[in-house]
């Protein structure tokens, strides 16, 4: 099995764009761009479990009289309710709990309150963390690849693409973004680079062994040789993530979802973006330096 990945790279770029575009459009159109949870914008979440089924209208009615601003009530079954409000003080929360308990025997499962200051810091931190991580990775790859900064740039561009895809999916489907989103993005970045490094490492090895083949050809061969690795390593992680997604706790579901998307598209991006970009950058900057004019187009064997 030998597939010409590099030869079709214009199509891969197009495909990557098609994958990315809906998310980007959603980010541009939606206000706010992402569905920020209370971790970001501040507010209260109250989870309550009634002993008997209570119709959701009853809750809405009871809370409607309290002047809480916009209240979102999410029912999980007919006994469990998740109530989101703006930031409330303690007295108000107690009033809300009191009002709900008048509807029937109920247990307060969870009360979360987050101030808006914390949320703003989270956004700043996320951006800083991503920027530092990516910058250090470019540095790392450049050093490890004997000053081959084109490899570093290609890898990071592919990672940025991956991050954008994850953010885009969350924008498109309005999935809630909470404080663990930072964790998801950084993990995705840290993991997605594996696949890129596996391919790039093989390219480096092959370049040493074979001098007569063109760069594009070497990259294509390397992708083919490492394809099983790229897929299998991702499969194990995806298996774990899937079981966490379907069987794991409610509160980590969005974290897992973000990592799932990031892992799958990280693998995709390593093959179809990072490697292809390295070929193009190489042809653009390195081949000119050589006297031998080689036809720039990669050929399959």
């Amino acid at each position: 099995m030998y597939f010409d990945f590099v030869g079709h790279r214009k199509w891969w770029y197009l495909l990557s764009l098609i994958i990315l575009l809906p998310g980007l459009i959603a980010l541009a159109i939606n206000r706010p761009p992402l569905n920020f949870g209370i971790d970001f914008i501040g507010g209260n979440i109250l989870e309550i479990r009634f002993e008997q089924p209570v119709p959701v209208e009853k809750l809405r009615e009871a809370l409607g009289e309290m002047d809480l601003g916009h209240v979102s009530i999410q029912a999980a079954g007919d006994q469990n309710f998740l109530i989101r409000t703006k930031e409330l003080d303690r007295d108000k929360v107690n009033q809300v709990i009191g009002a709900l308990q008048r509807l029937g025997q109920a247990e307060v499962v969870r009360v979360d309150h987050v101030g808006a200051v914390i949320g703003y810091e989270l956004i700043v931190k996320t951006v800083i963390a991503l920027a530092i991580t990516l910058a250090m990775m470019i540095l790392y790859i450049t050093i490890r690849y004997a000053g081959e900064y084109l490899a570093g740039i290609s890898a990071i561009a592919s990672l940025l693409y991956d991050v954008l895809v994850v953010v885009g999916f969350f924008a498109l489907f309005r999935w809630e973004v909470d404080s663990t989103f930072l964790a998801a993005l950084l993990t995705v970045v840290g993991y997605a680079v594996h696949d890129t490094l596996i391919i790039f490492g093989r390219v480096k090895e092959n370049l040493h062994l074979v001098k007569k083949e063109g760069f594009a050809e070497v990259v294509n061969k390397s992708i083919n040789q490492t394809l099983r690795r790229s897929i299998n390593t991702v499969v194990t992680v995806v298996l774990v993530l899937l079981s966490l997604f379907f069987l794991g706790g409610e509160s980590t579901r969005n974290l897992v979802l973000a990592m799932l998307i990031g892992t799958v598209f990280g693998c995709y991006s390593s093959i179809f973006n990072a490697s292809q970009l390295w070929v193009d950058l190489h042809l653009l900057f390195r081949e000119q330096e050589k006297e031998v004019a080689r036809p720039a187009k990669a050929k399959a064997r």
């Binding site: 663990t180 594996h194 062994l209 774990v240 079981s243 897992v256």
Partner: protein
């Protein structure tokens, strides 16, 4: 006999590993500290506030931490977690609290006790206290708090009571001392005469419970700076137990799926990978246990994810092994070569993952930190087990004549394939 030796060595080694993992893992899992989200409890983030006159100092934070520790102890909560975050925040986590509302109201109280004269002059404060005890007055049946001042406070209190007694006649409103808690007047007793012994009594509480709560707050001391509750999360015990059960289930299924996948893909080396995972889990959990780390939902996710990543090292090595075998190397040479060529790549991959985890740990907070710690630790451990344990076991297996058949390594025994024409 000489043929049997490697097999015996292998069997003994595997037995040892099985025993260690079989005993160690259940023990460690049982003794892991569970976070709030898994057993219910209260998480409060306190923000110390700077005023125009005073910016929050590290000393203030140390004092605040001390006061909080005492208050939490008064609530009788086992293993409270109190830690400073940044320069002006304090995280307080109380697991298994039966009455979260009471705990939070205790935490949020300033507990500033002031004795003021009629003209508003503060004469004695909570700082001058040595002790405060609540009791029921046997005569009136009313709850009251008995205060005992420290030497400095005793002197201040003696001076002011003496001064008031000498300056104003009996019954004069000027002869009263108002006792305020957090700016609220509790009682306004009349000073009958000088009090030189440093004892005072406060009355005016609704019930004994309230009196004893306030006494506890007074013993703990007032907050050195104003604080605000910036974040507060209460997890009921039902939700915690539910999350724990779900996590266990997800972990089991995830691990079994990964094990099956490795077996199907890599046969005998797949078995080695499963053993490596067992050892890996033992090491990671031991370190977490030694660090007194807490298991949280994101933490478990991070740990499981690191398992999925840990097998990656095995996959990279085995894929290389397949290639090396295809190129016609002998089993032993192929194993050595596979490790030699895979380790730099695995090192690069893991370095980048650990880098990301470190930055996450540095910038993240709370549960995100637990996730980062577990992930980083897991990745580092997986590297060590891959280059030591996996290599050792694979070599041990390749010494056993029975296991030298290349079919065990997922390679077809087709002589025409050897040497493969792949020129790399």
């Amino acid at each position: 006999m000489s043929r049997g030796r490697p097999a015996l060595k292998l069997a003994l080694f595997l037995l040892l590993v099985l025993l260690l993992v079989g005993i160690g893992l259940p023990f460690l899992l049982k003794h892991m500290r569970l976070g709030l989200d898994l057993r219910g409890g209260v998480h409060v983030l306190l923000q110390a506030q700077s005023t125009p006159e005073h910016t929050v100092t590290p000393e203030d934070m140390a004092a605040l931490e001390r006061v909080m520790r005492q208050r939490v102890d008064q609530l009788g909560i086992a293993e409270p977690l109190i830690q400073r975050e940044g320069s002006d925040r304090l995280i307080i986590e109380l697991a298994g609290v039966s009455n979260p509302e009471e705990a939070i109201s205790m935490i949020g109280k300033t507990a500033l006790l002031e004795f003021k004269t009629a003209d508003g002059q503060v004469v004695v404060t909570g700082r001058d206290l040595k002790d405060a005890r609540a009791q029921i007055n046997p005569q009136t049946q009313q709850p009251e708090i008995h205060l005992k001042f420290n030497p400095e406070g005793t002197k201040k209190f003696a001076d002011i009571t003496k001064k008031l007694s000498e300056t104003y006649p009996m019954g004069s409103p000027q002869r009263h001392i108002g006792i305020y808690l957090d700016g609220q007047l509790l009682t306004n007793p009349h000073v009958n005469g000088p009090i030189p012994d440093g004892n005072a009594v406060i009355t005016g509480f609704t019930d004994f419970k309230e009196a004893s709560k306030i006494a506890a707050l007074l013993r703990g001391g007032a907050l050195p700076v104003p604080v605000q509750i910036a974040e507060q999360r209460v997890v009921g015990p039902t939700l915690g137990a539910d999350s724990l059960a779900k996590s266990k289930q997800a972990a089991m299924v995830g691990l079994i799926l990964v094990a099956l996948f490795m077996l199907a893909m890599y046969r005998l080396p797949g078995v080695v990978a499963i053993f490596s995972l067992g050892v890996y889990a033992l090491i990671v959990l031991s370190v977490l246990w030694a660090l007194k780390a807490t298991f949280t939902l994101p933490g478990i996710a991070g740990l499981l994810l690191s398992v999925g990543m840990a097998v990656d090292a095995n996959i990279l090595i085995y894929e290389r092994l397949r290639e090396e075998l295809h190129w016609g190397k002998t089993l032993k040479a192929a194993i050595d070569s596979a490790f030699q060529h895979s380790i730099p790549i695995i090192f690069d991959c893991n370095s980048n993952s650990i880098l990301a985890a470190m930055i996450l740990y540095w910038l993240g907070s709370g549960a995100v930190r637990g996730f980062a710690l577990n992930l980083g630790l897991g990745v580092a451990t997986s590297f060590v087990t891959a280059i030591s344990f996996t290599r050792f076991l694979l070599r041990l297996i390749s010494d056993v004549p029975l296991f030298q058949d290349l079919r065990f390594y997922g390679v077809k025994l087709d002589p025409s394939l050897k040497p493969a024409k792949e020129g790399v």
